[in-house]
């Protein structure tokens, strides 16, 4: 059951999970060329071999403050509606099966996170917020509903 395969990572100190089917690769990006006149969460463009990634700052999309980026930041590469994006994450811990699948959210979730999460995924006894990458390149909620 590949449907239960998730990438586990961290954004703004929060453990998150993303369906492996949404992901093409996890890479360290080179220089990010900033772009003017775009929404603040669009960090810029980065080259990945001969491809050009549009770099998205997930943290900025969620909290409205730009993520602190080190020299060669980690990014999750994903093809979304025929365009390739690199979505910045703090760390990546694992790609593995979560036998429990997607669980409904327990407790009251932070307002900033709520438009982007559709459930929880458990790994090694810890809960991870399930995100859909497509949400960060479109209007919030559309990707999560489609899932």
């Amino acid at each position: 059951m590949t449907d239960n395969l998730f990438l586990f990572a961290r954004i703004a100190g929060t453990p998150i999970a993303v369906r492996a089917s949404e992901i093409e690769a996890v890479v360290r990006l080179g220089d990010i060329v900033p772009i003017q006149r775009v929404p603040p969460h669009v960090r810029g463009l980065a080259a990945l071999r001969s491809r050009v990634l549009t770099v998205i700052d997930i943290e900025s999309r969620i909290f409205g403050r730009p993520m602190k980026v080190e020299a060669r930041p980690l990014a999750v590469v994903s093809d979304i509606s025929a365009h390739t994006y690199g979505l910045l994450v703090e760390t990546v811990s694992d790609i593995c099966d979560a036998s429990g699948g997607i669980q409904p959210i327990k407790g009251r979730i932070d307002r900033a996170w709520s438009p982007f999460t559709a459930g929880l995924v458990e790994r090694k006894g810890r809960s991870h917020l399930l995100l859909s990458l497509a949400d960060f390149v479109s209007t919030p909620g559309t990707g999560a509903k489609a899932a």
Partner: protein, 846 residues
Amino acid sequence: MKRMTSHRQAKRMDEILGEFIAETLETLDVLSGEVVAWEADPTDQSRLDAFFRFFHTVKGSCGFLNLPRFERLAHAAEDVLAAIRRGERGADPETVTAVLAIMDRIGALSRNIAEGDEMAIAEAEDDALLDALAPPAAVPPPASAEATLSHAAEIAAAPAIVLPREGTDADGIDTATGPEPLRAAGRGDRAPRTIRLPLALIDQLMNGISDMVLARNDLARKMREREADPELEGSFERLSANVADLRDMISKTRMQRVDRLYAAIPRMVRDLSRELGKKVHLDLDGGDVEMDREMIEMVVDPLTHIVRNALDHGIEPPAERERAGKSETGMLRIVSRQSGNQIVIEIADDGRGINRAALVEKAIAGGLLTPAQAAGLTDEQKLQLIFHAGLSTAAKVTSVSGRGVGMDVVRANIEQIGGVIGIESRVGFGTTFTMRVPLTLTIIPGLIVRSGNHYFAMPRGNVVELLHQNSAMVTLEEIGGARIATIRGEPYSLIDIEDVLGLPRTDDQRGPRTLMVIRSSLGQPYVLGVQQVESNEELVIRPASPLVTADGVYAGMTLPDNGQPMLLLDAAGIAQSARLPLHEARQPFAGGKEARASARAETAQALVFAERDGTRRLIPLAIVDRVEDIEPTQVAISDGRAFARIDGRLFPALNADGIGHETADEPLKALRLHAGREVICYLIGDVLDIIEVPMKVDVALNAGRIAGLVMVGDGQLEMIDPFALFAEVARDAVSPVPSAGRPRPIRCHIVDAHDPWMTGILAPLLNRAGHDVSFGPLENLPAAGETAAPDIILCADEGVPGAAPAPVLRLSDSPQGADDGGEAVYRYDRERIMAAIVSLTGRAAA
């Protein structure tokens, strides 16, 4: 195990169906070129056989694939063709039309299946087509026979144009392995050896080659840093040449023969000339020229439009041609050829030519030209009027709702892909249009421009001229905030790239800045100032994410050989975002009058229209999305609110009072107005004109839907207040704004300079209330306390990141969003917005 097998069978079945659809569409594509020849000589056995074979194959496959609907249609057509082959029935035009209608229906159904929407056309609609196939004797009286015919032609016309765009390309392209053209296939000649490849594979190959080129460049750089080694360099040169060859070859797999572009034309000419009662001989040449397949798709619409125009307006009816001493049959000739890295497509007719006097008259009537100016026009300039946006006022604004109509749209489409269009016309002898388009869409010559350490690409096709700012031919001036560059006596609007993109000015400016004279599809050229033009390169352009292109200033992205991604600038988008007055609405051939340029800088376009009761009013053109012809039956009233049904969607409608069946004769049009996500319809009687009006109304009124009065010519017209319209639809109480009259206007700063609601609706409202409005990101604002610091910052629901130098007012787009947060205001609550601005800025209302 058993399940596996059945699963595999189902998959196999899907594959077979997919192949059947692809083959059917492909054959249809080929056959559509044969149709006209067959009709000209219905006894031509080989063509008849080709059609017969098509229906026979479809019928055979359908039984197997369980597609009864296809089977029924194909069977009926096959029967008729069999009768013709046996000589029992003649191939009269009605029969041919009926058979073609069946062919088109099969094509349409195939496409529907491919798109997964099998029921898009009701099965019952097939009956009319099948009835039309009946022998002439069985057809009722002539009047209704004609109706069937025109109905069939109507169905036939639309798919014939779409065909080349939705053919086999959807999932694969044919790669010819031999020099033989594909078109031979229909006639039973030996077909060329081809294979089907998924498009994705070709794209992957292309990417692989690009990776290789980058690696080669990297290697070359490293080699230069080391000591020279002739032996190594020799090997590297060889490798390098191989990579370059390979890149060329892979690019060729994207190429397709212009035949594809031609495929639908014979059929269209046949249908149209019958409809118009004209005789036309069509001559197609140069079908073996190759073009990028994306480019072919971009050219289909303009070509179709020019051909339609030639048939409709160019070529005369037979009787008129005879009177003029020409042969009864008109000639339409389309020739394609390659010229350097361009494809030239000429469309020539031998019709009546373009009547300059009528064009000029129309231009004068439309206020584009004064009679004095018209007198000074050269013949060439008069002809060019045909491409003039302003000429397609009133009547044609309506048709924009359909497909791109009007020569201005054709020109814009061609220029958008980096092409040019020219025209030659001799009265009485005919007209020739010449389209020149680049070979490929994806590789274009571009200029790399720099500002600080930001680099951008500009398509070379958009650049007319490069000059240094300190050139003797250039004078720069600033008047009333507008910047003007006068080059050889010709004034241009001037903008700097830093201002457009909000970049800081750099200190490392050595030497003069460079001015680029930019031509865009919008109209008059303008001047874009950049720090420096770095180089001139062939650029591989890829589409950029919608997040990047949404703003309109970027057209795509590219990865030059140095490996640093770069954005391609959109010449028209830049002019639009800088709000340059480029529309040629008043002065198509303006002389060197700076004052005029600056006067126009503060105007906006407005649509003059007649309300349903005939009153003439104005509405800002910027918020009019399109004009629709609408039937009273498309308007429905529910719970006291009116809605207009357009293209299967319902939009809130204003001015719907009293519409119903009893008003069926009343002329009715709908202005579709948009403000970001909201769309409403404003029902009117007719569209009259497009004019330039001052940004500020001459007399401000805050009375309901009227923003104020604008002087137009000798009279004055009421200007509609779009805010009021949207607010009315949002069902909010609208009351007049508190009167202005404060010692100093409140300076409102709008962060989202690209939000149409903010700029098009909120900003004028604030202006009318006596406030000053500025736009832009927060970073560029002066700190609090400085003289130019804003008093209040307005933004959308998300708020602003970071600390703001002034109080922030969030405007929510739903009443709920406004309530639960507490600090936001619903954006159609005019009173609360105004009150919040006053209270947040800490001043008492007057």
